[in-house]
Structures are given as structure tokens and as C-alpha cells.
Symmetry: C2
Subunit: 777 residues, 2 copies
Amino acid sequence: MDDKELYFWRGPLPETQALPPDAAPEPWGETRVVGKPVTRVDAYDRVSGSAIYPSDVILPDMLHAAVLTCPHAHALVKKVDTAGAEKMPGVRAVLKDGMPGTNVPWFQGRGGFSSRLFDPHCRYEGDEVAVVAADTIYQAWDAVRAIDVEYEVLPHAVTVEDAMKPDAPGLRDGGNVPPAAKPYERGNVAEGFKAADVVLEQTYTTPCELHNPMELHGCVAKWDGPRLTVWESTQGVYAVQSGVANALKLPLANVRAIGPYMGGGFGSKLETGKYSVMAALLARKTGRPVRLFYTREQVCRSMGNRPANTISLKVGAKRDGTLVALESRAVGTGGAYAEDGTGGVDYLIRELYTCPNVRCENSSALTNAGPQRAFRAPGHPQGAWALESLMDALAARLGMDPVELRLKNVPAASQTRNGVPYSTTGLADCLREGATAFGWAEARGRRPAPSHIKRGVGVAAGMWQGGAGGPPSTAIVKLFPDGSANLNMGASDIGCGTKTWGAQIVAEELHVGLDRISVEHADTGTTQFATPSGGSKTVPTESPAIRSAALDVKRQLLSMAAEQLKVPAADLDLRGGEIVSKADPAKKLGVGQVQAFGRRGVLVGVGYRGPNPQGKATNPFGAQFAEVEVDTKTGEIRVLRFLSAHDSGRVLNEKMFRNQVNGGVTMGIGFGLTEERVMDRQLGKLLTANLHDYKMPTALDAPADKTVIAIDPHDTFCNTGAKGLGEPATIPTAPAIANAVFHATGLRVTDAPMSPARVLRAMAALKPAPAGRKGEE
Amino acid sequence: MDDKELYFWRGPLPETQALPPDAAPEPWGETRVVGKPVTRVDAYDRVSGSAIYPSDVILPDMLHAAVLTCPHAHALVKKVDTAGAEKMPGVRAVLKDGMPGTNVPWFQGRGGFSSRLFDPHCRYEGDEVAVVAADTIYQAWDAVRAIDVEYEVLPHAVTVEDAMKPDAPGLRDGGNVPPAAKPYERGNVAEGFKAADVVLEQTYTTPCELHNPMELHGCVAKWDGPRLTVWESTQGVYAVQSGVANALKLPLANVRAIGPYMGGGFGSKLETGKYSVMAALLARKTGRPVRLFYTREQVCRSMGNRPANTISLKVGAKRDGTLVALESRAVGTGGAYAEDGTGGVDYLIRELYTCPNVRCENSSALTNAGPQRAFRAPGHPQGAWALESLMDALAARLGMDPVELRLKNVPAASQTRNGVPYSTTGLADCLREGATAFGWAEARGRRPAPSHIKRGVGVAAGMWQGGAGGPPSTAIVKLFPDGSANLNMGASDIGCGTKTWGAQIVAEELHVGLDRISVEHADTGTTQFATPSGGSKTVPTESPAIRSAALDVKRQLLSMAAEQLKVPAADLDLRGGEIVSKADPAKKLGVGQVQAFGRRGVLVGVGYRGPNPQGKATNPFGAQFAEVEVDTKTGEIRVLRFLSAHDSGRVLNEKMFRNQVNGGVTMGIGFGLTEERVMDRQLGKLLTANLHDYKMPTALDAPADKTVIAIDPHDTFCNTGAKGLGEPATIPTAPAIANAVFHATGLRVTDAPMSPARVLRAMAALKPAPAGRKGEE
């Protein structure tokens, strides 16, 4: 199964008698540790610098590698002359197409087609041409510059429009436009629009975003005889293991991927990079460890992006707000190699509200630009930008409160996905409780003093198609005779606090302090299986396995203690390192006194993720409220106040829940206000390949006043009751801000990001509207 | 439970209903991988230098530590002035007695009494007084030399005789002589000797040996907040974990001990060293990692030794050779701190032969010398030196063949231990098959040409009281979807090939090539529980757990495949990555096609060591045959030819079996011919504190002609049928050589090592004996 399947795991787990479903006890009632706002268990390591990230790994005799990439948007490599480079000081190995070992087929980009490791057909500015390993990184770069390449430059197309032209340069045989997928359809949209009292239609555009994780993409590779170890900055060590093993035809057991700390990914590090294979080949050739990290510019060009989308959306509603028809047409490009540039874009349009007649059509084209990769809620922020902007316009047209319009279309009890009921739906509560806490009604009615700085409030809702867990997961908990414990799991902690809530679950079940729990994770050599951390599925996938493992070890301990104390195991409880009889508290044993340790030394509990609930769908939901200030002279937008209300099931750590939401909101602010990959259409080159030209929001752009509310509808789909959070947090942010901008100014900005220039342009085109508080559509 | 209990694990495992005994399948019949002479799986890593031993660990910002030790055999520390040292360049921390954190009670030496970390009462030349951490090791040593210590020098005693004198300087309150243990007694020796036709009596002495492992003792310690990681050259990471955690009052989960490679131990690295605690304290004080390895001289002084023993042995026999009485008196010293200087010395005397009347008495005294530690077969080589020399003398006196005399006293079927039958006894077969293969009868009858260089042959037998497994063990086997596998176990590979035979067992059960198996071990953070590797119990303790883990994962795989193929699981077999129906070979599935992987990603099997067989004792046995050349002019002895016949149950790897035996024999040659710790009685100082003065045998001292025979009596005491080997191999070596020297020269050397000087001295005292082939006692 490839990374895509692991990331978007949908199907039910195979049912079997041979492996009976694991005990899935009821979710907790009152908890002692779980849910509490405890500090991260690795906080000290991270802030003290003692945490070793893959880019910190320095091995004896390690070589440094640098990659030569194609400077053209589209070219054929005719000749690569490395003779000069190979003679340069410190250079130990050079690899290029056609050299032994380099003929590795490579799957680049999701939904894409294969290239070679060094493909002579370069399809974007950034395709890899050669790689050098040298004693120092400076020597490696000097040698890269000394490589002489003869290119035949081809015409290029970096926009969907250019790529779809009949005479567009072909990125592959069969053309740039993949066969269109069947449009999604339910009901009959034509009939729906006929029955509508109001029909609105608008075209929205969203920017191409670059992930820009703090740590660059790369790895260190080292061979010990036939065994390869790769320290990689990745969201999933098992994905790296299988990717590298497949490419180099190695047994899985002989590839050890290690990445306990990693500096962010947001979806761009779900896949194995060509760099891992290059580093491994260079290390094998030289007999020395090799470090290969891409530069910031190379990461911006090659390591994925969120496709830009153009979404034409049409909505039909009854006078009372009831939706009767939704129709969308989305266009996008996944760049080179990645066929699908619209994945996930229509999900909210189909699923967020109950609407009998829906039709969604998507089309993509390949372009001579960096291939897309999964990016925090693939497609969803784009879809939300269109849907939630248009819902706001509909409310204005109908003269309804935007919260009321949404509640009207969310059933009070539960939503369904194509008729399958959700295990729980907290969307209505997110909207209601969020509005109350935000002071929505009061804020909407407020009449500020006249000024060129306008204030307004907006709301948007969202859901995420993943976040329900599902892929397999194994966790092991070791209990030491002094009652302290070790958690062993494969999942990467990509910054969300995976280690911490994992330790909290163990602490809860074994009634032991967090300071007595150690965690080992993200190492295919020593830790258990996990799919990559992403898709907001890490919590709902790993947490039930961790809880099961802790309960397994507790069961062993208590059943042994029961025999020693001559009481039923059900009568025993584990309390602060002691096993105590509930009936007769005088009957007790210290953990270390249990003879199990004489038989085992250390007790080992194994836990797996249990099966999904039959006949139920699961999703996390959320609603966000923004208050903004718009400077109508400069076009600048400031987010003053933000409230996020999320149904992600049970919260495992209140503090990390808030942090996670606020991080997602900040990313949503980037999507809505500042971030945009800019390509030069004529040259086909990336103009925003660094953090100066590509504007990421900073702490100064985040709202000072932030509130996070958790709606826990007591989901029981897994034994911890937790649903995903990472992606939901970023989905409704940008339209909530855009709707607040409309409320403030009467200006409806349909193109994200809402940069000052774009706001001023739109403002100039705007007809003056009375008081700026009534609809203008 | 302390290290001693773990090492000499005797008691039965606690019985319980709660943890049912693991399935203990029958030992293998024919095997495909197990037993075969495959090359070590880590051979490349070891010879290429890519293996990282603890002394290779270099961490960023690491400090280097050096220890100041007491230069006197016995002294009170009155004052330690570190002011000058602390001001020296690069010095980051100095610790001495009385400073915060240093008041750590310490258990030093087996069977000993506690000292403090820096004890002001220094009881031997080598007791630790202070420690310095500096930027470089040179700066650390300069600072150690700058520490000003005021000692009150006390009288000392480094020999048992001196220590037992009424006015001997006391090492502790209560005197130097611990209360005598009750002598071992069975039958009535006085009656036995009365009934004997022949009685012989002789006093034997054996040298104090130093372990001298290739890698020195030490560790690197690093803190991450409250968690401590120790990379230590150790035989048991879990022993280090518990030792350090106890000393520093840390939860076990917060101490991670790592030591996958280590350069030899032979018993001296079963315990946690003071160095680990010092390194941890220095690292905590400075906030930097600290490397602390003792020097060769410090290791020779402080890191243990095999006590020198004086053994008076008396044997009574019938004319036909039947033993009727054995009586021994052994004296020894464990040095400072270690009370017992005779542990294990009488075991062979009590157990090797069936003799109705036996009495053994041991006594020890504390001396001002380095404390003893377990040393490859504690006590047994000493006991064998006495018993097997005297048996040879008895054979000569009776005019019997020495092999025949031994066979006479070993029952043909099985021995018993105090009436409890052994699961199997291969001793008679070792003697018989060894004699045949050696050409014993022919070699004994050979009459070489007259020369000052004499040739002769000798035999000796042995057994080892451990080697039966027993302590708890857990192993985990992970099966990847491509059929490759990972073995996870806690045991250290102390040079015996633990990783390799572990991988062979997995390869056997999962029918997969050794090149598709990786092994992780010896890390309390990531691998399973194991007791220290030692006592020849590693194979019989770990191998059944590994086999059980492999069978557990296979069971899961086959039961799932059975469901898919709709056949009973018992009908299925795993063959080269495929699951095949025995009844219908057309029915098959690739490992990766089994849906179990969809549910689990990676299959995990857990195995434990099963219980010992009820009502049975287990021991490994052996017999060795030597052919030597004695230069009667120089006193030099050369071992020309050596045959070892060992019953260690099933052989897991034929090549490593041979290597292990030959290594043990070489160590036995050192014991018999060259090694001896020499103390200056007047100064109380060690004179042989380096490899120039302390003579270890080299490859040139090992016999060129070496044969190893395995006697496998098909033991079923555990599911792999394997008994221990490491220690048995070294037990009979020295007396086999001594007996060959007697056969060659008629000279009976009773003091080991048989150095040229000692041989010449004995030769000078020898009355000429006719042809040197008849007994002289």
C-alpha cells in the first residue's frame, strides 16, 4: 500500500476470526491525567537544544551531498559532464543518470506518474540532474557548480490555462490533461435550482501555498554491510522504510528509518524523497555516511505545495435558508508529475450541509511546476473558501444571520455521509457555543465610530474528511518493577505533542506520574508499526492502541496480584504504584512485589487499534469566528480576535489542543492574507523561493485575543473517544476572516490571499454601499 | 534482586495460574539454519569499524572525566583540596566526598559490604577519591594530578595469611574474617576414607587472574531533563539501569542504558560501576554529556579479579577406582569489600563424580586488594585444577587409564545433583568420544625419541553449575510484509554471537534468509528485558524466548492465512516467504498477501522463556584432551594439540561453538601457564597493572591443532534444547595441560600458573622417575 493509501486510509480493516478484535473498553469517565493541560514531556529537550533532529545528526567520516537541479522549466538533458567536478578537492562521488545503481524508477508526487531518479526529461525548474558527495558541504556545492550540463530547452506551461491549450508542451505521452474523473452527483441540481427562491453564483480563487516546514527536507544515510540506516526528517518512518526498500530492492528489515524529532511537515514529509535514495547510493558508493539536505530554495521548488484552485460555486436556497442545490466546478494543477490538482476541494461542498441536490466537477492539468503534495487538509481550505464565502453572501441576500443560516442546514442531532450516520456530530454545538462565547450577536450589531479603519466579524464552519483513525497501529507498554513505564510506538511526533498525550494515556491507566514514563517512537528498528503522522488521524489511530497496551499490562499485573492476594482481579485497583483491594484496602501489594516481575523482569503489554464501529462514519467538525480591522486606506487587514470551537471528540491535552488550534488558525491566516507561490509565467521559474519573498505569517500576524472551545460529543468510535484536530483547525479560518472583512467594509474579496493590493483593487471597483452592513451580491 | 541473584539465578520461577506457562514446543528435529556454521550477522560491522562500542560514543559538547584513586593499600582520607584543580583550564566540575549528591551508598563487589561513592576509608590501592570533568581528557588528568589529598596511611594486609592474623589491620568493624559458612557435607568422609584402598592428598594453588577485557570499563552519560541515558560497556543493560536508578533514586523508566556492542567482560561487567554514577553526577552538574572510562591500570586494580585459592584435597578410592571419599579445604580472598573468596571452588568436587562421602570447607578473609568479581566460571577452574590433577594422580597410583578412572565414576546413564536427576548428562560421551577422536590410547602409548623436549598427553573433565537458563526473558519478533523480520531482545552480545544465533532461530522458524533479519538488542529504552549475559545462561535463557516469539508471529500469520485459504492452520507451512498448503500445494499465499498486514501493518510476536522442567537439574559437561611439549631445559610448556568435547545440548551455530570453545581454552591456557596478578606484599600495591607485566596468552600461545566435538544428548529442558557453553570451555583446560606435563615429564606441578621458573624449580626438586610415565605420588 502506498503513502496515499496510508494517509487517506478509508476502507474498513479486514475482518477476521483469526485476529479477534481487541477489547475496546468504554471511553473514560472522569480522568486524572488525560485531558489536563500538562506541559509536553519533551519540552526540556526541545528548548534546551538537546533534542537531536535529523539535520543535527553528525556521524564520524560523514560526507555532505548537494544536488544539481534543472534551472529550466522544461528541458531535455543531452549531456552531463562531471569530469571536472570529480577532480575537485574533497569530492568523493558524483551520481547522474545512466550511472550504475541510478536507474531507479521513482514515484514522484501524489496521483502522479513515475520518473527516473535522475530523469533526462526535466519537467520543472527543480528536477534533479546530478548529486555530489564531498568532505564538506562547500566542496559539494563547488562541485555541483562545476558540473557541465547540456540542456535542450523546451517550451513550458506553468498555468492550467497554458497547459490545457491544444499546442501546449507535453509533460508526458497522452497529454497534460488526465482523463476526467466522473463528477460527483446526488439528486438533481437542475431541479434543485428550479425550486430555489434564491440562486447565487460566484467564482473564487485560492493561492498555491508552500509548506515551508522549519526543518528542511533531507536525511543522513549510513550502511552497515547490507543494512541501511536513514535518519530522516519525516512524518512517517515506516513510509521511508518501505519507500527506500522498494527503490533499492532491499528487505524491509534491512532498512532502518529513524526520526524521533522532526521540524514540521504539514503533509510534505509523508513521502520518501529522492534525497533518501541518493544519500543511500552515495553512502554505498563511498563507504561513508552521507548527509543530504535540500536547501530552502530547493524545498520551495520541489517538496510540494497546495495547488491553486479556481472554484465556481452556485447555490440555490429557499427563502427560509434551506439549501436545495449546490453546484461546483473546480480547476487546478498538481504541477509536474501529480495528476490531481483538485483533491478534496469539493468535500465540504458535498458534506458540510444537508442539501438534496449536489453536483461537483473537477478538472486538472499537468504543468511545468513543482509537484503538489498533501498540505494540511488537502483541498478543504480551498473548498471552505468558496463554500463559506458563498454561504455568507447567501445569508446577506436572505437577510439572515450567518450562524442561523448554517444551523438551518445542519441537522440538530447528527449529520450523515451519503446516508451513513456519523458516530457523533458536534457542528451545531460548535456554531451555537462558539457564537455565545464570541459574543456574536452583540458584535454583529455594534456600530463603530466612522473611521477609515473598519471593524467587522465573520463566521465560517468546516469539517475534515479524515481524522477518524483507521489505519493499523501497534503500541507496546513496558512496566518496570518500580511502577515506572515505557511507551513504544512507531508514530512520529510532528509537533502536535504525540509523545505527551501518549504518555498521558499510560499515566492514566497505570496511575503513575508523567515524570515516570519514557517514550520511544518513530524508529522502524526498535518501535512498533504506525502509518505516517498526518491526516489528523494520529490521535484517533494511535491513542486506542496505546490505551489497549496499557490495559494489557495492567491486566497482567492485576491478575497476578489477585492470585497472590487471593481476591478476584476485578476487586483490585492500581493506585500510585500499589495494587489495592477495593473491598478491603488493607489488602495491597507494591507493584514490585508482584511475582509477575520474577517471571518476566519487566511486564510487556501489546495493544492494537481496534476495529471501526460498523455502519458509522466519523468526522471532526469546527466553527470559527473572527473579528477584523480593515484599513481602507492601505488595504491592510488585522485579525483582532479569533474564536475556534471544535468537535474533535475527547481532548487529550487541553493545552496542546489550544496550541494545535492556534497553529492551524495562524496557517489559515497565511492562506487568507499573505501566502502565495508566484511563478514567472514567461520563464517558468519560481519567484518566491525563500522566506523573504514568500510571506508566512509570524507571531505578529496572529490575533492577540484567541479563544479555543472544545465540544466533546462523547464519541465512542474508539476507546479514547478522540477524533482528529490538526487539519480541522485550519479549514474555516480564511473564509471567517473574509466574511468579517465583508461585515466591516461591504467588500466581498473572492481571491485569496487578501493582500493589501488586492483589497485596494477590489475597494476601488466597489460601488458605495449604504453603511457597508447590507448585502451587495 | 541484585546482580548476584540474576547471574546465579537458581530458584524456580514463581508458578502462577495468572501467567500460564508459554507453549514449549518440542525441540527441532532436522534444522535448516540452526546449528549451521554461518558467519556472524555483525561480522562486517565489527571488522569494518562501523560498529559503535560505548568507548566510541562521542557526543556534541561532551566532557571527559578522570578519576583520582588512592595510591595507598589502606588509608584514611583526611582532606581533599580541589581548589587548585578547579581553577585549571578546561575544568568544568570536580566531585569528592561530602559534596552535594555524592553521598551515594555503594555496593562494591559480590557478597560484599557497602562503601560510599567516595569513601574516606580507602581499603585498597585504587579506591576512588575524587573525579574531574574537563573539556579534554588531558585537562582532566592534569587536574586530577593537581588535587591535593592528605592521607593517614594505615597498615595493610594483601594476603589471606596476613589478613587472618589477630593484629591484622581491620577493613571493617567485625574483622576481616566473615563468619564461616557451614561446610558442605554428604555421607561420612571419615568412614569413606576408612573404606578406601588408596588415599591421596595434595595441596594446590591457583593464581589471582585479572579479566582484562579488550574494552576498558566506563560509560558516557547524558541527561535530557529528568531522563538519563548511559552508554556503557556492560554485560547487562538492565543491571546498569537498575544499579544507576537505585543509586540516584531515579525511576527505572528514566534511566536508559545502551550497550549493543561491548568489548568483552568475562564477568567483570555484570555490575554497575561507580563510574556510571560519577559520570551521571558530573553530567547533571555541568549540563553536558560526560565520558568516563577507567585506564587499563585502574581496570586492573579495581574492576575485579578471580580470587587466588589454596585448595587442600584428599581423595579415597577402591582398588577398582571407585571413589569413596573426597574432602577439601579451600582458602581465598575476595580482596576489599567482597567477602567470599572461594565461591564455586568446591562445586566440581561435590558434583562432577558420584561419590557417597564428600566434605568441603571454605574460608575467606578480606584483604587490602582490589575486590573480586565473577570471572568466567567462578571457582570452577580452581576446583578443576585440584580435583582433576588429583584424579590423574589417583589413576597413576592405581595404574588405571585416566579416562577409564573418570568413566568409572560417571554413571553411564545420568548423573544426579544431590539425588535430583539431570535432564541429560553427556559427560561419559564427552570422555569416550573425545578419547577416540583424540587418539588417546595411541598417544599415551607413544614413546618419543629421547630429547630434552618431552611430549605427553593429558585429560580433564568438567561441568558448570550454571548454564541452564532460568532467569526471565522476553523477546519480540516483528514480521514485515515482505517476509523479512526484526528480532528485539535485551541481551548483550558479549562476543559469543548472541545476535547471530538469535537471528538463526528466527530464520529457522520463519523460513527466511539470515540476510533478511535485523537484530536490535541491549537497550533498556527500546528492547525487551534480559538479565546480564553471563553464567553461560544466555543461550538457554534467551533462545527459548526468541523461538517462542517467532512461533507466536508465525501462528498469527498462519491462522490468518488459513482463514483466507479456507484450510485448517495446521495444514499450512511457511516456506521462503510463501504460505503453502501441505495437502494442496497449489493453495498458497505470499506473506505480504495475508490480510493480517492490513490489520497490523507489521506482525508482532512476543515470546517468554518457559518454565524449567519440574524435578530435573540441568548442567553442561565437558572433557578436554591436551598434547604438550615441555622443554626441560627452559621450563617452557607448549600446547601442541587440544581436543574439547562438550555437552552443551544442541549447538546453535557450529562455527561459533568452535570459536567459543577455543576462546575458553585459550583463557584456560592463561590460567594454567601465564596469568598471575602479583601484589607487592610490603607496599600493598599491584605490580601487574598492565598488559606488559600481566601475561595474557596470545594467538601464538594457542595450540595450532584444535578440535572441538559437540555431544548433543537431546536435552528437552527448554524448547531449543541448548545448554550453556561459555564457562564450561575454560574449566578443565589447565589440569588437562598439567596432566599432559606429568605424562611428558613425570613432573606434577601443583601450583598454577606453570610458569617456566616454577617448572624448573619443581624439576629441580623432582626425584628422577623411571621413564617419567609411572606415578610418583
